[in-house]
Amino acid sequence: MYLRLDGITKSFPGVLANCGINLEVDRGEIHALLGENGAGKSTLMKVLYGFYQPDAGTISVDGARLDLRSPSDAIRAGIGMVFQSFMLIPAFSVVENIALALPRLGVVPDTADIRERVRQYGARYGLTVDPDAKVWQLSVGEQQRVEIIKLLVSGARILILDEPTSVLAPHEIRGLFEILQTLRRDGYTILFITHKLKEVMAIADRITVLRKGSVVGTLSRDKATEQDLAYMLLGERELRTDTFSRRGRADGARPVLELESVSVPGERGRCGLAGVSLSLHGGEILGVAGVTGNGQTELGEAILGLRRAAHGRILLDGVDVSHATTARMLEAGVACIPEDPLRMGVAPGLTIAENMILTERRRFMPRGGLFTDWRAIRRAIEERIENFGLTIPRLTVPVGTLSGGNVQRLLLLRELSRRPKLLVTFYPTRGLDVAATRMAHELLMMARNGGAAILLISEDLDELLDLSDRLVVFSRGAIVGAFRPGEIDTVDIGLLMTGAKRHEWHDSPASPIPAS
């Protein structure tokens, strides 16, 4: 075996993230690590990358035992990793970013040489990217390619990719898979972290399934079926198909949210919003499809009062709220699941209980909070959590110790139990595993059926088509298409999203929503 992990054990305070994990990977193999959130995939790979030191266990490559004390040790041993959030410096060019990753960078870096190598790798593996472009100008897919080139240039032979597809549009995923297959042909070994069964079946040679920090089993792809994998992934839990009970929405009612040709300036070369109009009723889910960075953030932030619209009006229940503060919007019944829950939705150093009251401070801490009964608050939250079928260890641990998926669940729970009138949700299932995604979808559907208006901003087209009552496609800060699910398939949406195709058949850009 080329790469061997033997008995890797790693614990964090209160959590056993990896428990005696054995993993063997061949040279020139695409090996998928499949598991739910918190199954220990990322921890295991961070151990292999020297980012964490294991409590026990050994790592060897080609029979030689490695002692990895830091990522630079790993890079020297030919192991490289692309993290879920990219480690690039936006203001630097592609070449400059890659120069930073080189183990022996001269005092005066030979940029011409690096540029040449970027071109070579680009041509050989289809990793096309302009070496002199600034990183902030690149799309997410291009940034990912830069990350991969970075690994290749620094001499990595074992590439670890942490959920590489979660940020990509469908046709970009296909492109990535082609790149990975070329790399495999040249003898690169690829470790691919994911929780998506379809991708595993499409690309992996062998699959190792992790659950609760242990290996459930390793299968080769030709012997595996999606059904088997799902069973291994979820354990005894019942597998259901996604069907939602959908109650018809209240017709003729005044829309909860209306945008009248709202424009928001973009920041740092990003496009803002360019004259967007839309309306959203109670009991309706409006899906917003688009590649990240095409105005969705600005849309959400304008509605939440975090950004001012330069032109146009935003109406909530018919009242102009274009200049309302965020605090007022929250009080008026607007809730938000932000795109990066850990960074935007919670205070990681505060306890779970403290975080769960963040958007209802006045209710839970009346009269200045002088007489706050934390015990009662914790009981109330525990009850909610139980009702939602979540298992959270203790409410007194800092939120930062939870996995990303659990933070997302808590956020959904926190915001939905406020019974919001309008919910703006960004990528509600990004980073969630199969079970949690299903739960999140059911919660959103329940809120919809309960009369909430939901703006669903997502890149997951299956999710958008499953949940939305109506769908708009965003590109460069404007709506480039409006549909009902069933009128369009994922490939066409994907092409519209990336501007590869313009939608020719909607009547006028000012009123892109077909009358219902």
Partner: protein, 345 residues
């Protein structure tokens, strides 16, 4: 080993760690003293004998701990939302100046009416000095570390101006100070020492700081901002208001320290009312990790060093700077260990 590391990280052991690190700094200074042919043990004996060897020494430790506690709170409160207030020195002088104005113009009032007014003036003066950098930060994003630091020089020079110019004592034979305050403007001294009522101000202020931070919604919102300002803004917490509030609350406490210095210790305004209390208070706050109880402990420790510093000069002929070096080394060691902890966490 892993268990040991976990133990070292547990909150209960933070005081133990701080003590250990402080000891490390003493050892380092000891080596330094040895290099210069001085006996470090004799120096340390002199420091601690100076501070603990007599009632006078002990009382002087408390006298110096009072402004240190208040100035440390001036750093710690804004630090809780991530602001660096280096302006304790200037805010202290501003409070002293405001109180002096009150004492000089309203000196005819009876004590019961005048003193509360002077306290209020001290608080207001300090708050006003902090308001300037706070507004600049809030409205224009000006870095408060730089603006508070630079404002120190402005305010100290302003004090120099008033004691040489408009407020100069006509009977002072050209010494730069104001006339002596009337008796009704004097804070009480206790037990025949120089310990004054500022002690209660400091302890009440620290207790209030602790209470507000831990037990009120405002303290809760402050902790959210300190932990993650972006999430705070998205949860509708008015960040700008808290920038103004915490800076002014901090500045007010430093101003109160200034008021206590002029009304209890000096009985008049003059240059040098503070021997760097604002800066040492900043140090105290960081050593205490901005924790209210830690501030009391660290203020006393630095009070000991500062009183002991006088003794070192007298009995060993070492410069007062010896004590500054010890303080600086403690600071480096403690901060260094914090960065290490942050890196390995």
């Amino acid at each position: 080993m892993a268990r040991l590391a976990r133990l070292a990280d547990s909150r209960l052991l933070i005081p133990v760690r701080l003590l250990g690190l402080t000891a490390l700094a003493f050892v380092a200074v000891g080596i330094f003293l040895l290099l210069f042919g001085k006996n470090p043990l004799a120096a340390y004996r002199a420091i601690f004998a100076g501070a603990f060897g007599s009632t006078y020494g002990l009382s002087e430790v408390v006298v110096r701990a009072i402004p240190l506690m208040l100035c440390a709170a001036a750093t710690a409160i804004p630090a809780r939302i991530g602001l660096l207030n280096v302006g304790g020195e200037g805010q202290l002088h501003a409070g002293a100046m405001a109180a002096t104005w009150g004492a000089l113009t309203l000196g005819f009032l009876p004590r019961a009416a005048l003193l509360p007014g002077l306290v209020a003036l001290g608080l207001l003066g300090g708050a006003a000095a902090a308001l300037v950098p706070a507004v600049l930060r809030w409205a224009a994003g000006v870095n408060e570390t730089i603006s508070t630091l630079l404002l120190n020089y402005v305010i100290v020079l302003l004090v120099e101006y008033v004691v040489r110019g408009p407020w100069k004592d006509p009977l002072s034979y050209n010494w730069p100070f104001t006339p002596e305050f009337s008796d009704s403007a004097r804070l009480g001294l206790y037990w025949g020492t120089r310990i004054h009522a500022g002690l209660w101000f400091a302890l009440v202020a620290i207790a209030l700081f602790y209470f507000v931070l831990r037990r009120t919604r405002w303290g809760y919102e402050v902790r959210v901002i300190g932990d993650n300002p972006e999430a705070a803004v998205r949860a509708g917490i008015p960040l700008g208001r808290y920038i103004l509030l915490t800076m002014c609350a901090g500045g007010a406490l430093a101003g109160l320290a200034g008021m206590a210095e002029v009304c209890a210790i000096q009985s008049r305004l003059r240059p040098g009312i503070s021997t760097g209390f604002g800066y040492t208070g900043f140090l105290v706050s960081w050593l205490a990790l901005h924790h209210p109880l830690g501030i009391v402990a660290m203020a006393v420790l630095l009070g000991v060093l500062s009183v002991g510093g006088d003794q070192v000069q007298i009995s060993l002929g070492l410069p007062y700077a010896t004590v500054n070096i010890i303080m600086a080394l403690i600071f480096f060691v403690v901060l260094g260990s914090r960065f290490r902890a942050a890196r390995t966490a």
